[in-house]
Amino acid sequence: MSAGHRIGAIARKEVRQLRRDRLTFGMIAGVPVLQLLLFGYAIDQDVRNLPAGVADLARTSASRRLLAEVEASQVLDVKVQVGSAEELEQLMRRGAISVGVVVPVDFERRVARGEGPPAQLLVDASDPLYLAAARGLLELPLGRRSESRFDRRSGVPSTAASSPVAAFAIRPYYNPERRTEVYIVPGLIGVILTMTMVLFTAVAIVRERERGNLELLITTPVRTPELMLGKLIPYVAIGLVQTTLVLIVGSVLFQVPLRGSLLDLYLGALVFICATLSLGLLISTAAATQFQAFQLTFFTFLPQMLLSGFMFPFDAMPRAARWIGEVLPLTHFLRVVRGILLRGAGLGELGGDLWPLGLFTAAVLGLTLLRFRKRLD
């Protein structure tokens, strides 16, 4: 009887079990959606709505206008108005605010003189992202503001009527290409696949060993590659379903564009899914219990999260970290998926990142076959 027959038997059995395993079944859809929402909404690197306090000591129309602009930018969410910089510092120490805006008494005179920044921002820089956000707020838009809004020669602040909001639009800063979701969501396809695919396969095989099924299975004529293929096929399909899910949610909720071809994207995802599944198989040969499989999965998951260019810009990482990163499948898939989705690249142009994925798969599968014996010793 044919090998395909036995592979099919194992694959069908696996799907049956999956349908009954509500937890795993829920994870197939739950993990992508949850992660997408978490990364898409919560982990928004465009920092907005920082709690802020304002000490407007000048109390002129110009200072009020400045504060109105600041508030309109949505970077700051002005919670309190106080009377001195000291009070702002106290609030910040208590954690009530992250940013304080101090407009000095002589604000207008400073503007008129044009010597340095007229107002001051106090920033809780313990999270560098806050500082970056605040810096963006002040240096970019306010720098321009002083150019366009205040006439240096006359030293007279222009009136509200003559300078509509448009002149100070913060638009350049929040330009669409720099929305983090757009950058993060394609990467999330890779992260979600890495997490679920490796775990599912590792657990799927270890569970059989743990429950004693494997002892029975290896006394049947099923061959090792057949067993592996049969177990993998359902998960390849699940991986493609997850990819689809992320793409749909990403485009509906976060307007992530698809600039390249959908077919290219699925082919790229398929190659990547094979790489992650083979890693899961390798883990299954090393783990004796499902718990160990979990541990080992996270052991491989963390470096992929950190060194693949998902969390930090790849080119900015130290050289050693980049070397490690080049070995990880997620690194290459991130480039592929971002290339296709954001830059509209074709698979042909991304060959440089496809062959490492293929090589990884082949090497890991080979290692797995060497380690997996149809024996108990």
Binding site: R6, A9, R211, G212, L216, T220, R375, L376
Partner: protein
């Protein structure tokens, strides 16, 4: 009698420093039920696993149905059924799904497959349970399912590793009836057990201890060999008598059954009834001795005690406690 289904010579298996199976010689006749009787850790499961090709022997050789293991394990597997000690079917699949799956991986074609599954479901009275998940079955039901699953491909040789542990007596009896039917159909069965009544039903038996065969033969012959060595003592002071007799070198074992003591005499003790009565009189203990029928338990005690006492005598040179960790 058919020729040997299994021949093993000097079969051994070590796990690290633990010797689980120690130079086992086996001749299992075909179309018979062959029993492994032994306590936990005596090497029953390890031996079965080696004979299936699941474990490599550390030394020695075995031929199963003419295939040498583990080298020729793959072709052997088509003729081999294995019922593991622990229930190893899928608990989240139904009874019929499990059987279908096993039939599929054994390569049965679609039409013959469903016919075979129906046949097994009928034979092993699984009809009402067919759509139930295996995880919800009782011990006896699981056992019937596991047996049916091991038989989907009509194997010539069936390994059953403690198939009836945790199963009620009624189901056990029924199970053994099924085994005899299989043997009549030409199947060879190797079954491990630690139940005396089950061991007694086998055509042939090997008693295992610490990975060695300490006794083997047909149960009836083994029991009859001890016919005049079993003495029952009735006494008011059983613990005193027990103490007294256990000290003697010519007494192998003493077991209490209610107010009676069952004494197994060594082969060296002539006329054991008289000898024991003399011993009681000398010690001034009242008690009456009479000959009793030997049982398989006596065979087991005699076989394992010889080695226990032997080891006790040459303390220091013996291999020490073994095989407790090997399963």
């Amino acid at each position: 009698m058919a020729e040997s289904a299994i021949v093993a010579r000097g079969l051994s298996r070590r796990f690290g420093s633990v010797v689980a199976v120690d130079g086992l010689d086996l001749d299992v006749p075909g179309e018979r039920i062959f029993g492994f009787l032994g306590p936990n850790g005596s090497g029953k499961t390890t031996t079965i696993r080696m004979l299936c090709g699941l474990l490599r022997p550390s030394s020695g050789s075995a031929e199963v149905l003419g295939f040498s293991v583990p080298e020729e394990a793959e072709p052997l597997r088509r003729q081999l059924g294995y019922m593991t000690q622990r229930f190893s079917l899928y608990e989240d699949l139904t009874v019929s799904e499990n059987l279908e799956f096993m039939a599929e991986v054994h390569g049965a074609r679609r039409r013959t497959r469903s016919a075979r599954v129906r046949e097994l479901i009928d034979t092993y009275r699984l009809g009402e349970l067919a759509r139930q998940r295996a995880g919800w079955l009782s011990g006896g039901e699981r056992q019937r399912l596991a047996l049916a699953a091991a038989l989907v491909h009509r194997p010539a040789l069936l390994f059953l590793d403690e198939p009836t542990s945790g199963v009620d007596p009624e189901s056990r009896r029924e199970f053994w009836d099924a085994l005899f039917e299989l043997v009549e159909g030409g199947t060879t069965i190797l079954v491990s057990t630690h139940y005396m009544d089950e061991a007694e039903r086998c055509h042939k038996l090997a008693i295992l201890q610490d990975g060695r065969v300490v006794e083997s033969g047909e149960p009836r012959a083994l029991i009859e060999a001890l016919a005049d060595r079993v003495v029952e003592v009735e006494t008011e002071r059983p613990s005193r008598v027990r103490e007294l007799l256990q000290q003697r070198d010519d007494v192998v074992g003493v077991a209490q059954l209610g107010s009676r003591l069952r004494v197994l005499a060594a082969a060296s003790l002539r006329e054991p009834v008289a000898a024991i009565e003399r011993a009681l009189a000398q010690a001034g203990v009242e008690g009456r001795a009479r000959a009793a029928r030997s049982s398989l338990e006596d065979v087991f005690v005699a076989a394992t005690a010889a080695r226990r006492k032997g080891e006790a005598r040459d303390v220091g040179s013996g291999p020490g406690p073994r095989a407790t960790g090997a399963r």
